[in-house]
C-alpha cells in the first residue's frame, strides 16, 4: 500500500483547506492536501456574493467592532465570541493578502477593493468580483499553492517537496496513536487503491453536510466527511442543530432544484413577491430587527441610493428570517406555480445593469431554466445551504479536543452561532484556515516524537466491505431515503414527533447501510464511493436530529414549530455530540456557553442585549460597563 509521510495533512481543498495548507507550508511544514475532487473544483467556487471584511473602503464608518456586532446579532448571540472577534479583526488582512497573490476584486473609484451590501451587514462590506467571488478565491489560493511549488522546485528541484495535492482521493478514517492523531487512511477514487498518510497533525476542511438533504445547494462532496471523521476520532461536534436554509434556491427545473440564487440579487435591488404580487417581507420583520429595517416600500426603495438616511429593505433580513417567511407564504397558498415565490429584479434595474452586476445569475437562469431574468421574475425557495455546527475547536488555533486534530471552515463549529451572515463564510475560511494551518504547524513543532500509525487493517476491511457483499442494499436508494427523511422531518420547520420519527428512520437506514453492496471494480466506482459516504451522512444526520430534538426553542437555523420563541435560557447552552469509534451510541449533551469578555459585551447597547440574555448575564454586563 502507498504510504506517505507528512507533517500536516489537510483534508479538503476548498478555501479553508488551501489557506491552511499554504500557512503550514509557509511555516516550513511538509504538507499534503487531500481532496475528493480535482484541484480547484471545491464547493467554494459556488460562493457568489463576496467575502465580508470591514475594510471601510466604501463606507469609512465600518470597522471590526461593527462587523463583530453584526456577526453576533446574525448568530443570535450563540456564536463563539472569540471566533467572531478574531474573524472581524483579521478578515481585512486576509482579503488584502489575496490581492498580493493575484486576486482581482472589483474596484472603487479611488482604486481600492469595492465592497457591496449584504443581508445582516450594516455597511457595504463584501469584497467581490461580480457574482463569482468564490471562484476568484479558490483560483487565487490554488495559484498560490502553485507559486509555492514553483518556489520549491527552484530550491529543492522538486515542486512537490513541501506541498503536494492528492486529488480525487477520499479519506475514510483518521488514525491514532493512543489519544493523539497519527495519520489518515483513504483510497484513490481513480484506481480504488488504498493510501496511507503518516502524519502527526490533520486539518479537517471538508465543508458541510448538505447531501443529507434532497433540496440543497451543496455538491456531492458535502457528505459530512470531516464531521464524521472527527466524531469517530473522538472529537466533539457542537451546534449541529443549526442548519442554514438559504432563502433563495432555484425551484425549477427539478434537476437543479436547490441551486443557489445569490443574495446579491436582493442586495442589488431584487424584491420578493408572492403570487398576489405583494412584497410580503414587510409582514415578517421580527421585533428584534424592527428599528433596523424599512417598514414601507418607499423607504426601502430609497435605501438603495441613500443608505445613510433610510433603513434597509426587509428582503435583506438575515437568511433564516427570509427563508422562514418564504416557507410560510408557500404554505399559506401564496406561492409561485412551481412551489416557490417570485424574486424579481427585471422591473427594478435596466437589463444592461442586470447582466453587468449579476452575470452568472443571468447565465444560470438562461441556460438551466430558460428564464431571462432581465425580462421575468425568478422562482425561488429555501434550500439547505450551510451547517453552522461542526467540530468544536479552540478559536485561536483551530485545535479540536483530540491532540493533532484541527478544523477550519464549514466543518468547524461556533463561529456563526445559530445563523451565518452571507459573506462571513469566505472570510471565515481565510481567517480560520490560516489559524488552523498555523495551529497544526505549532503543534508539530511542539511534539517530542512522531506518533505511530495504528488501525490500518480495520480501516481497510471497512472500506472493502461494500465490494465484497453481493446482493445487498442499493446505496443510491438508502441515500435517497435519508435525503427525503431529513428534508421532510428535520428540515426548515421542525416538530418533536417528526424529529423522533426521523431518528427511527435513520436507525433503520443505518442497518441497511451496513448491508450496502456495490458491483463493479475498484476503479472509479461511484456506487462504491457512495456506499462508503453513507456512513458519514448517517452519522451526521443522527447528530443533527438528536440535537434538534433536544433544543426546545427556535433560534437562527433551528425552528421548532412546538417551541416558536427564542429562550434566553437556551442561549447559554451548547449541545455537544460525541460517538464511539465504531460510530455507535451518538450522544448529545448540554454544555454551558462561556460568557462574553467584558470589552466585547460592552460593544452592545443594553436594550439590544435584553432581547437575548438572561437576567443573570445582564447583571454581568452592568458590572462590566461600570468597570470600564
Amino acid at each position: 500500500m502507498e504510504r506517505h509521510e507528512y507533517d500536516v495533512v489537510v483534508i479538503g481543498a476548498g478555501g479553508a483547506g488551501l489557506r491552511a495548507a499554504i500557512e503550514a507550508r509557509q511555516q516550513g511544514k511538509r504538507t499534503a492536501i487531500v481532496c475528493k475532487s480535482l484541484f480547484g473544483k471545491a464547493h467554494t467556487v459556488m460562493a457568489e456574493g463576496g467575502a465580508a471584511a470591514a475594510m471601510g473602503n466604501v463606507n469609512s464608518s465600518d470597522n471590526w467592532m461593527v462587523h463583530f456586532r453584526d456577526t453576533m446579532r446574525g448568530g443570535k448571540f450563540l456564536n463563539n465570541w472569540r471566533m467572531a472577534e478574531l474573524h472581524a479583526k483579521e478578515a481585512p488582512d486576509r482579503v488584502w493578502e489575496l490581492e498580493a497573490w493575484g486576486a482581482l476584486f472589483d474596484r472603487t473609484k479611488d482604486g481600492k477593493i469595492s465592497q457591496r451590501n449584504f443581508g445582516g451587514h450594516e455597511y457595504p462590506r463584501l469584497a467581490h468580483v461580480g457574482d463569482r467571488t468564490g471562484l476568484e478565491l479558490i483560483r487565487t489560493l490554488q495559484q498560490r499553492v502553485v507559486a509555492l511549488q514553483q518556489e520549491d522546485e527552484k530550491l529543492h528541484g522538486d515542486p512537490e517537496a513541501y506541498i503536494k495535492v492528492f486529488a480525487e482521493c477520499t479519506i475514510t478514517r483518521l488514525l491514532k496513536d493512543g489519544d493523539a492523531i497519527s495519520g489518515a487512511f483513504g483510497y484513490w477514487r481513480e484506481t480504488g487503491d488504498f493510501i496511507l498518510f503518516d502524519a502527526p497533525a490533520v486539518v479537517l476542511a471538508t465543508g458541510g453536510i448538505g447531501k443529507s438533504y434532497v433540496v440543497t445547494s451543496n455538491s456531492w462532496e458535502y457528505t459530512g466527511d470531516g464531521h464524521a471523521l472527527a466524531l469517530l476520532a473522538g472529537a466533539k461536534l457542537i451546534n449541529m442543530e443549526f442548519i442554514q436554509f438559504h432563502p433563495t434556491g432555484m425551484v425549477w427545473p427539478p434537476s437543479v432544484r436547490g441551486i443557489l440564487v445569490t443574495e446579491s440579487v436582493r442586495g442589488d435591488g431584487g424584491v420578493l413577491r408572492n403570487s398576489e404580487g405583494r412584497r410580503f417581507m414587510f409582514d415578517y420583520i421580527p421585533d428584534v430587527f424592527k428599528d433596523k429595517y424599512a417598514t414601507t416600500e418607499e423607504e426601502a426603495d430609497r435605501w438603495y441610493d441613500d443608505q445613510a438616511n433610510n433603513r434597509r429593505p426587509p428582503e435583506l433580513l438575515p437568511r433564516d428570517e427570509v427563508a422562514r417567511a418564504i416557507n410560510a407564504e408557500v404554505k399559506a397558498g401564496r406561492g409561485s406555480p412551481q412551489g416557490g415565490v417570485f424574486l424579481d429584479v427585471s422591473t427594478r434595474l435596466p437589463a444592461a445593469e442586470i447582466t453587468r452586476r449579476l452575470p452568472s445569475m443571468h447565465h444560470q437562469f438562461k441556460e438551466l431554466a430558460d428564464v431571462d431574468i432581465t425580462k421575468e421574475p425568478m422562482q425561488v425557495g429555501p434550500t439547505c445551504h450551510y451547517i453552522m455546527g461542526g467540530v468544536e475547536v479552540d478559536a485561536d488555533t483551530g485545535a479540536a479536543s483530540v491532540p493533532g486534530l484541527f478544523a477550519a471552515g464549514e466543518v468547524s463549529g461556533g463561529m456563526h452561532g445559530s445563523n451565518r451572515l452571507g459573506g462571513n463564510s469566505l472570510s471565515d475560511l481565510l481567517v480560520f484556515g490560516r489559524r488552523a494551518g498555523a495551529g497544526a504547524a505549532g503543534y508539530v513543532d511542539g511534539l517530542a516524537k512522531r506518533p505511530s500509525v495504528t488501525g490500518v487493517e480495520e480501516a481497510k476491511a471497512e472500506a472493502l466491505a461494500p465490494l465484497e457483499r453481493t446482493g445487498g442494499e442499493n446505496p443510491y436508494e438508502v441515500h435517497h431515503e435519508l435525503q427525503r427523511t431529513m428534508n421532510d422531518l428535520v428540515g426548515i420547520i421542525r416538530k418533536s414527533e417528526e424529529i423522533s420519527e426521523a431518528l427511527q428512520v435513520v436507525e433503520k437506514l443505518k442497518e441497511r447501510a451496513k448491508n450496502a453492496a456495490s458491483s463493479g471494480s475498484r476503479i472509479y466506482n461511484p456506487g462504491w464511493h457512495l456506499a462508503l459516504d453513507l456512513r458519514n451522512m448517517l452519522l451526521v444526520s443522527e447528530c443533527v436530529a438528536k440535537a434538534a430534538l433536544l433544543r426546545e426553542e427556535s433560534r437562527g437555523g433551528h425552528t421548532r414549530d412546538d417551541f416558536p420563541g427564542m429562550s434566553a435560557g437556551w442561549r447559554r447552552k451548547l449541545l455537544v455530540c460525541s460517538a464511539k469509534p465504531d460510530g455507535t451510541s451518538v450522544t448529545v449533551e448540554e454544555r454551558a456557553q462561556p460568557s462574553m469578555r467584558g470589552d466585547l459585551i460592552g460593544l452592545f447597547e443594553r436594550s439590544e442585549l435584553e432581547k437575548y440574555l438572561t437576567e443573570e448575564e445582564l447583571a454581568e454586563y452592568d458590572a462590566a460597563v461600570k468597570e470600564s
Partner: protein
C-alpha cells in the same frame, strides 16, 4: 412529460472500450448529467462520471455529447429530438481513466509551468490601487472554470499528441494574458509565451472560444493580443528600433 431516451455511452477502463446502448427515462427540465445519474442509480451503478456543482460553475462534468465538448450539467435534454440517439464520450484529448472520466493531469502540469503573479517587491498587501478599467481584461480570463474543454477541442493537441510537450493550450494562454495585462505584474511573459508555451502553434481557428462555457473571448481577447505583444517583442523591427532609441521604460 417523461419519455424514454436512447443513449450511447462510452464504457471502458483505459483507452480500450466501446459504446454501449442504454434506454433511460427523461423528465421535463432535465440535463444530460441528470440522465447519467439516473443510469447510475438504476442500471449501471459503476458508470464513472465527474461532476460537482451541477450549475456550470466548477467545470467538472466536461464530456463530448454528440461529438461536441459540452458540460453535462448545462446541456438540456430539450435541445435534442426525443427520437435522437445521444452519444456521450469522454474528452478525446486526454487518456481515459474509466468511462467518461479522463486523466487531465496534463493541464495541471502546464499550470505549474506558468510563472505565478509577480508583483513589485515594494508593494505591501492593502496598498494595491487599481482602476476598474485596468483590471477588467484580466477579470474576464479569471472567469475560467477550468473545464478544460478548450484544451480538449484544440486541434494542436487533439489531433497531434506529439505537440503536447511544446504547447500549453488556450487555458494557459489566457492565464499568461491575464498576468501580462495585470496592472501590477512585472514578469516578462511575451518571449516565454512564444518560446516555451507554444503560442505560435495556435492558428486562431477559434474552437476554444466556441466551446467556452463562460463565453470568454479566448482568441480575440487573449491569444491574439498576446500574439501582437509577441510581435512587438520579437518580430517588429520598428518597435524594436523604437525601444532601443527610447530606453525610457524600465
Amino acid at each position: 412529460m417523461g419519455y424514454k431516451a436512447k443513449f450511447r455511452i462510452w464504457r471502458g477502463e483505459g483507452g480500450e472500450g466501446r459504446l454501449e446502448d442504454f434506454t433511460v427515462e427523461v423528465n421535463e427540465g432535465e440535463v444530460v448529467l441528470d440522465v447519467i445519474h439516473r443510469l447510475q442509480a438504476t442500471q449501471t451503478p459503476d458508470l464513472a462520471v465527474r461532476w460537482n456543482c451541477k450549475a456550470g460553475k466548477c467545470g467538472s462534468c466536461s464530456m463530448e455529447i454528440n461529438g461536441r465538448p459540452r458540460l453535462g450539467c448545462m446541456t438540456r435534454m430539450s435541445t435534442f429530438e426525443e427520437s435522437e440517439t445521444i452519444t456521450v464520450t469522454p474528452l478525446r484529448t486526454f487518456p481515459v481513466i474509466k468511462d467518461l472520466v479522463t486523466d487531465v493531469s496534463f493541464n495541471y502540469q502546464k499550470a505549474r509551468e506558468v510563472p505565478s503573479f509577480t508583483p513589485p517587491a515594494d508593494v505591501k498587501p492593502g496598498e494595491y490601487r487599481m482602476q476598474q478599467v485596468d483590471v477588467e481584461r484580466s477579470q474576464e480570463f479569471r472567469k475560467c472554470i477550468e473545464c478544460f474543454m478548450c484544451q480538449n477541442v484544440c486541434h494542436v493537441i487533439r489531433d497531434h499528441e506529439e505537440n503536447k510537450p511544446n504547447f500549453s493550450g488556450p487555458r494557459y494562454f489566457i492565464r499568461i494574458a491575464e498576468l501580462d495585462m495585470h496592472p501590477y505584474d512585472v514578469a516578462e511573459r511575451k518571449e516565454p509565451a512564444q518560446e516555451e508555451h507554444g503560442l505560435g502553434y495556435c492558428n486562431i481557428t477559434k474552437c476554444c472560444t466556441e466551446v467556452c462555457p463562460e463565453h470568454i473571448k479566448i482568441t480575440d481577447n487573449a491569444i491574439i493580443p498576446m500574439k501582437e505583444r509577441v510581435v512587438d517583442r520579437k518580430y517588429d523591427p520598428l518597435v524594436w528600433l523604437g525601444s532601443k532609441i527610447f530606453k525610457r521604460q524600465r
